[in-house]
């Protein structure tokens, strides 16, 4: 073993090096540069799209121009439709994510702690994981009707697996010696769980949560299309019946932007904070 300080398979990370620009002006310039770098590919893509529309001159209900989409976006926003529908979607993802993550972590812990439960559940879990939440929607519709329940259950279905598997993996990768060490300090099982296994598994859990919510988000939009009781999925689906192609694309853009913001401002910082602070994962 080259690094004696670590009892597990995780190598010691280099110290986090952070280059901070000096002064407010410099940091504003840095933020602007970062934003520009983030936006540049989208600008390029939109330009290409505008060019294609300009050259082919397809009718607007087949492929609208970026300007038409921007107009449609402004229209659904001004009418208040976008805010109401996006609000529905956000409410559902928050509800499903909070409860689903709790279920996934609990299940993962049970599997991580007891080998026999993991061995028992592993094959069926892998089998069911291969069936996407969408494939279950007909059944969920029969069981729960065209309601929020169906949507939330479909999101759970996609979200719980990655969270549970990652939590299990995380619990299992916590070196046994950490547990032993705390036991010889007089630690109880409760303390082992909350002071050793949970913090030790956090980087994996956070990774699983990020993945799970990403899957859940997609399942949510699909479920909204099928259930048809509000939400961004329903917005784009209903727009199709009226051939409001620009509105469809505006809705898709809203879905993408919402996800990007959630990931960029919530999930990624969470992952980086736990991992970098504790130096648990080599990057």
């Amino acid at each position: 073993m080259t690094d004696p300080g670590r009892a597990g398979p995780r190598p010691a990370p280099p110290l986090p090096v952070r280059t901070l620009p000096r002064g407010r002006a410099a940091s504003a310039a840095g933020a602007a540069a970062a934003a520009a770098q983030m936006l540049a590919p989208f600008v390029l893509f939109t330009a290409g799209w505008a060019l294609v529309v300009g050259v082919t001159r397809w009718p607007e209900d087949v492929l609208p121009s970026p300007f038409a989409v921007a107009r449609a976006f402004g229209e659904v926003f001004a009418k208040g439709i976008l805010v109401v529908y996006a609000g529905e979607t956000i409410r559902r993802i928050v509800l499903a994510a909070v409860t689903g993550v709790a279920i996934g972590i609990a299940a993962g812990f049970v599997m991580g702690l007891h080998d026999w439960i993991a061995a028992l559940l592993n094959p069926p879990l892998r089998f069911f994981q291969s069936l996407s939440g969408i494939a279950w929607l007909p059944l969920f519709l029969i069981w729960f009707g065209f309601s929020d329940k169906t949507i939330v259950v479909a999101v759970w279905y996609t979200l719980v697996f990655p969270v549970a598997f990652n939590t299990m993996l995380g619990v299992r990768t916590v070196p046994r010696l950490y547990r032993y060490a705390v036991l010889t300090l007089g630690g109880t099982w409760r303390q082992i769980v909350f002071q050793v296994l949970l913090p030790g598994a956090i980087p994996y859990i956070v990774g699983g949560v990020r993945l799970g919510i990403a899957y859940g988000w997609r399942a949510l939009i699909a479920a909204e299309i099928v259930v048809g009781s509000g939400g961004l999925g329903y917005l784009i689906f209903k727009a199709e019946t009226f051939h409001l192609t620009a509105r469809i694309i505006a809705g898709m853009t809203a879905i993408g932007i919402l996800w990007y913001l959630t990931d960029y401002f919530l999930l990624r910082p969470l992952e980086e904070a736990t991992i970098e602070r504790w130096g648990l994962v080599y990057r």
């Binding site: 950490y178 032993y180 300090l185 030790g200 130096g279």
Partner: protein, 269 residues
């Protein structure tokens, strides 16, 4: 006087999944450790030295025999028996302070008393200025000092040490050994220390117990009659008794090694 630790006729077998065989690590092992003694265990690799510590700690249950600490049979780990592991095993998500105070936190020591003890061990171990650092920001030597401090701060009556300095560089190791001699002098604890190094066993131990090859039994038990104040590397080398102890222990380990070799040859033949 009743022994602090009584190891009585311990038999320990474990299953080796790579050879699909049961291995007998200890076979009728007995050892008494009086209260306050610093005993060092040396012996060939695989003789069950570490296993013995895990058994005393209560982390592993023996196949046969029993272990008494203060006359009570060991059935599970407890804070009366602290352990320092070869691979340190300090928690990477706790700071130096958080790790050292962990045992006190578990014992629900009042905050004031806890901080006081942590401060004392931080100073004693030369960790001042690093209280708020995380383990990955420390050198190997410092991490092991944190591990030793964590175990001692919890104030166990028995301290079990499993080759704690084996992975340190020679310089750090020597400093740590001298520090441990000093600490053992101040804080009267019963210490069982497992090591590969004969020199380390002599500088640290009140007594050195030499184990036979697998399955491990006690081959010899040697009291080390070098006064504590002479146990420093700069003067020990000149100590004639040190050289004598060293030769004798090395001779016994060599004997064990040779007999194992012969046994292996007999099996092959």
């Amino acid at each position: 006087m009743r022994a602090k630790i009584s190891v009585e006729q311990i038999v320990h077998e474990y299953f080796n999944p790579s050879t699909w065989q049961r291995v007998r690590a200890l076979d009728g092992f007995s050892l008494d450790v009086p209260d306050g003694e610093f005993v060092c265990l040396v012996g060939p690799s695989g003789c069950g030295k570490s296993t013995l510590l895990y058994l005393i700690a209560g982390l592993t249950r023996p196949t046969g025999g029993r272990i008494l600490v203060d006359g009570r049979e060991v059935v599970r780990p407890g804070r009366d028996r602290g352990m320092v592991f070869q691979e340190f095993a300090i928690l990477p998500w706790r700071t130096v302070e958080g790790n050292i105070g962990h045992g006190l936190e578990i014992a629900q020591t009042p905050r004031r008393a806890k901080e006081e003890t942590v401060r004392r061990y931080v100073a004693l171990m030369g960790l001042s200025g690093f209280e708020h650092k995380y383990p990955h920001e420390l050198s190997g030597g410092m991490r092991q000092r944190v591990a030793v401090a964590r175990t001692l701060a919890a104030d166990p009556e028995v301290v079990l040490m499993d080759e704690p300095f084996a992975s340190l560089d020679a310089q750090t190791r020597n400093v740590m050994q001298e520090e441990l001699v000093r600490i053992a002098l101040h804080e009267r604890k019963t210490i069982v220390f497992v090591t590969h190094s004969v020199d380390e066993a002599i500088i640290l131990g009140d007594r050195v117990v030499v184990l036979t090859g697998r399955p491990g039994r006690v081959k010899a038990s040697l009291p080390i009659e070098i006064p504590r104040e002479r146990r420093r590397w700069d003067v020990l080398g000149a100590e004639e008794r040190f050289v004598r102890y060293r030769q004798e222990i090395l001779r016994m380990i060599r004997e064990e090694f040779d007999s194992q070799e012969r046994a292996a040859e007999a099996v092959r033949a």
